[in-house]
Amino acid sequence: MPTKTVINAAGRSVPLEINGQPVIPFKGVGKHKPEDRKYSPPIPTCSDYPDDGNKVVGSLEEALRKCGLNDGMTISTHHHLRDGDMVSNKIFEIASGLGVKDLIWFPSASFPCNDPIIKYLDDGTINRIEGSMNGPLGRYVSEGKMKGTAVLRSHGGRVQAIQDGEVKIDIAVIAAPTADSFGNAKGTGGKSACGVLGYAKADYLYASKVIVVTDNLVDLPCFPMEIEGNYVDYVVVVDKIGIPEKIISGTTQVTRSPDRLLIAELTASFLEKSGILRDGVTIQAGAGGTSLAIAVFVHQILKDKGWKSKFGFGGSTKYMVKMLEEGQMGFILDAQVFDLDSVKSIENNSNHVPYSVFNAYNYHSKGNLTSLMDIMILGATEVDLNFNGNVVTHSDGYLLHGIGGWQNCLHARNVILPIPLFRDRIPVIVDEVTTLCGPGELIDVIITERGIAINPLRQDLIDSVKGSGLPLRTMKELKDEAEKICGVPQKPQFEDEIVAAIKWVDGTVIDVVRKIRTE
């Protein structure tokens, strides 16, 4: 039966029901304010747990059985092990072996290492994924092969969905680089160190059952514990939870592409000339090659001017760590670490501290850390003439990326997207984004190798760089230039069938992804 759809506040046609559950169409930024109380997990009783505190069981299968693994359950995992994760796939291998069906996988993100999950989608073990879908998983979904409808949320939106009871986690499986028999766990230490475990916080606080899986069991207490054992039901010890070189990059690399370096240089120059970069500035940038180059240029400006950033919010990299160590940054608050220098720093530097997205990005937090950030550097697969952004699909219409923290970060004071004008001869600036992930009112500046476009809503920024010599252009001019070079690519064709829903940070539906027409 066709799903009833409405036009939401962003002008997108969205359904009123997804996976048999009612959903709320996007109402506008900051408009949806749910009332009532947060969801609560079942009440445990401590007398049900071993007096000696030893919660270690023989295997992950035994733990899953003890948690009552059954058809239709929601299983959550975190992505701190990134492309080295050896735990998530194992859960579904066990479930498949046990004949369990229609599970919902609720990861904080997925990586190429999770591609084997496709066979458990094929055999019915998993009904759907509610989380990011990259590469082959995204293609699988876009081609309409997944039984249920995918739901994509931001990192903060994931916490919101848990707190609103929109997603009720039956079993949270938390891969932990170090843990003790009581279930206290942390992201540092051992052979699979990933730095922090912040993405798992909502999971262990709200799940009905929690399993900690570790390859580094230490004597109690595992200190400093990022996850407290009081929330943990079972501990499983395995040989390996991950592949170390795929968990953390030995080193993150600044882009070598001359064009990306030019974009980075222009971005740093814009930040300086607009006055956004100043003494006491707060900074957040990612770990992509262009972002790292921007960090290097910004660091040099801070040094030259004798300025100091008050704090940076990580994803940390060695370049941010360098700012901290050389005195151009006061603190690093960290949601995830990307390289070995950052792991070392968070272990040893008291001004480099874990700071979970549970607090930083959550719509239901009492205040939003990202709104305190002066500089927010983000990417996008497409941006349209109204500054709307897309991060999940490419212009071919295929779902290829997760949202990550992107939507949450749009609330920063100055949201800047340094992006190439075209990728593989496909223009990045389009009339209308294929999939709307972030409304244009929150995106302030687009910086390409061929010019800078400032959102007309930010007259203050436009005024700040008047006469600066920066190559200022309109989005229309940038789009026309891209099309003059690349031509106008054909638009992808879609069926009516909705294969994925894109949630806004407040849980409303901002857009959907439809099945690709392949004929």
Binding site: P258, D259, L261, L262, E449, R450
Partner: protein
């Protein structure tokens, strides 16, 4: 596609893409050629944004960076790039192949408003004339009036010995460059960072160029990751008398341009010398002195050159002298 067809059948037919209006411009013989960016002629992906990096010249290379089996298609790609890609005012240069093949290359670039042709492995003034005649023939046949300058590249011991003859090979020769990889190979020595093995060749080429009234251009610096070493090399190059250098990566452009431009100290010192010279002239003095030091006429001439350069690079106002209060003159 066009290249594939031409390999199968002999035809003069061409598929010419539109010529961008902004690509119709000429250059002057004395323009700056501090940094010229080399791009392989068969990789259009690198050409599209090349002009964004503010090189003084963009060299579309048909010679060493193109494999022999790719040379035919490179000609067509370079021709199309000259018509379709904007280099944002950079001098539009093409390095042709050696010998007969190089003369054939000219037919693919001269009709498409190339500003300058680089002639590799040049060893005689006679060959410069051959190139010049071929260009004149093409221009006559197609009734073209665009100015095409020449930059021979010296890459052998014989070339070094003949450098003055080459520099004067045609009135369209505006610069002469040295290619040290091939030159050191010809000598049978290794190229070093210190460059002692090529010191004679480099200085000889500079003298030939200056004597012929054209620009001497230094060899490329091949370690694209080492910007500090590049900076040092540019300093040495400038101090010897070179007026530019080739680049093989866009990140080298800014370092090279900055290096060849006069720095603040040089400009300030030159201003003082020129002012002292002017004051001496007004006072009818035959001898120019700056403090307790006597200034010779060649020193004044060099200072005036630096001032002129600084003005052309917008590093100094053209009316700088009138902006100085009388009591400071």
């Amino acid at each position: 596609m066009e290249s594939a067809v031409k390999q199968l059948i002999s035809t003069d037919l061409e598929y010419l893409p539109d010529f961008l209006k902004e690509n119709i411009y000429s250059t002057t013989r004395d323009r700056f050629r501090f940094a010229r960016l080399y791009l392989p002629g068969n990789t259009p992906g690198l050409m599209i944004n090349a002009g964004l990096h503010s090189a003084d010249g963009i060299i579309l290379d048909l010679e060493d960076s193109v494999a022999p089996e790719k040379k035919d298609e490179a000609r067509i790609l370079v021709r199309n790039a000259l018509r379709q890609i904007s280099f944002f005012g950079a001098e539009r240069m093409v390095r042709i192949n050696q010998g007969e093949r190089g003369l054939e290359d000219l037919h693919f670039v001269i009709p498409h408003n190339v500003n300058l042709v680089l002639i590799p492995k040049c060893e005689s003034g006679e060959y410069i004339m051959q190139v010049e005649n071929e260009i004149s023939g093409i221009k006559r046949k197609l009734n073209l009036r665009n100015q095409v300058y020449l930059m021979p590249i010296i890459e052998s011991a014989l070339g070094v010995e003949k450098s003055f003859e080459i520099a004067r090979g045609s009135e369209n020769v505006v610069a002469i460059a040295i290619g040290l990889e091939d030159y050191t190979a010809d000598l049978g020595v290794s190229r070093t960072i210190e460059g002692n093995e090529s010191f004679y060749a480099r200085t000889r080429l500079i003298v030939s160029a200056k004597a012929a009234g054209i620009q001497p251009i230094d060899s490329v610096f091949s370690d694209v990751a080492d910007m500090e070493a590049l900076k040092q090399t540019v300093m040495i190059s400038k101090s010897l008398g070179f007026e530019g250098m080739g680049c093989i990566h866009p990140r080298q452009i800014a370092v090279i341009k900055q290096g060849f431009a006069p720095d603040k100290t040089e400009i300030e010192k030159s201003k003082k010398i020129v002012l002292a010279f002017e004051a001496a002239k007004i006072n009818g003095l035959g001898v120019v002195a700056l403090g307790s030091k006597m200034i010779d006429p060649p020193v004044v001439a060099r200072a005036q050159k630096i001032i002129d350069l600084a003005i052309r690079l917008n590093l100094l106002s053209s009316v700088w002298m009138s902006e100085i209060p009388p009591y400071e003159k």
